[in-house]
Amino acid sequence: MTKDVLRKAWPWALAIWMVAVIWGAFFYAPSARGFKGESARIVFFHVPQAWVAVLAFCVNLWASLRYLRNRNPLDDARAAAAARLGLVFCLLATVSGSLFAGIMWNSFWNWDPREVSIVILLLVYAAYFALREAVHDEERRGVLAGAYAVLAFVTMPFLVFVIPRVYWSLHPDTIINTRGVIGMEAGMLQVLLASLVGFTGLFFWLYSLEVRLAGIRLSRQRRREE
């Protein structure tokens, strides 16, 4: 009963939260210094999108490892759902970053290390689905895609943490920079954190819908086979 109420209330609470984040991003957060016009406000959407893309990759790893251990088809569906959402958020992060680059540096693409790393992450997700499409047997598909996901995850720390920090970048400093100082005003930080929570909630809501759908599909398939 409580679970049902929570399930119904969750999307509404999320919608109200996201509306508040959008309002906060445009009307509550102060303007950032050193940026053209109001371009810095894109950070409230771009950073959470990039964060969710990485989070989805971690969920994909977790589900892939579970599948490789117990061969439960629902875990493979979980891995695929996380990768699918990760691909969408990765694409959104790339587009929003490119829009910011277009305004700030008069060029939508600059081959900046962070731009390169997000494109490689995008390629990893695309390759993961290319592999899934190439295998017809369901169990084998789960095993091979799971193994590839784990191998790809090993290279992720190099993409996300090493390359952008080793090579010179046009990209603005990270929120917590190398000196360990938070270089953001309190109002902006509050909105950014709220946006991070909102986008994470949005990801888990969409993810739970996908997994529930996959569960229904699997149980129907099982019933048909019986």
């Binding site: 992450l121 695309a126 084998r140 091979l144 290279t155």
Partner: protein, 238 residues
Amino acid sequence: MIRGNWRGRMRRSNYPAEMLAVLAKELRVELRSRVALNAVGLFALAILIAVSYQIGPYTISPAERPFLLSALLWIILFFAASSGLPRVFVKEEDSQTAKTLRLASRPMAVFGGKLLFNLLLLVVMKALIVPLFCLLMGFEIAGVAGLMLLMATGAFSLAAATTLVAAIISRSSGSSTLFVVLTVPLVLPLLVVLIQGTRAAATTPPLTAVLPSLLPALSLGMATLLASAFLFPVVWHD
């Protein structure tokens, strides 16, 4: 009697011996047909001729040469390698010998043997292509020792990252296009680091110039090797 001897040998055999046996088998098969060697060598040679005919040593200004030629060299090496590296597992499925190999050797020995074979293939390819590239493109290298060290590390890291992918595609469609699609995102960070290192070796003589590229390349190779070794038994016996 034969069965008894075989069991005795299996009991005595250890991982390095089994690994070397798989490598010896790979070398024997390769020397008999020379498919991988021909594919890699001819592919690399064809691209090299096309590139040197179109660009040549004089169309690029000396200041830009290290930047452009380092990238070109690794693009040629990677795409030439990708025409031969997946064969190590694909040929087992094509000739239907994979099941026999599964019975004869333990997964780790198969992985080790195949990895060593791919490593040897890369070393041979680089030994042929890199000097030829430098000669045809007028690519002068200030730090030869640094470049050699970088090439060895690159061969190890590339073999470590691609051997498991070769096993994966052999269990799926077996197409070399899929091998490139799956490998490119995995090795792109490695290629970026290796291109930077080659540029440093071309312009700076001391060995220390390549160290900032050597360490990430080596650590990436080690990380993918460990992950591949952990995952290979699952892929091989799915």
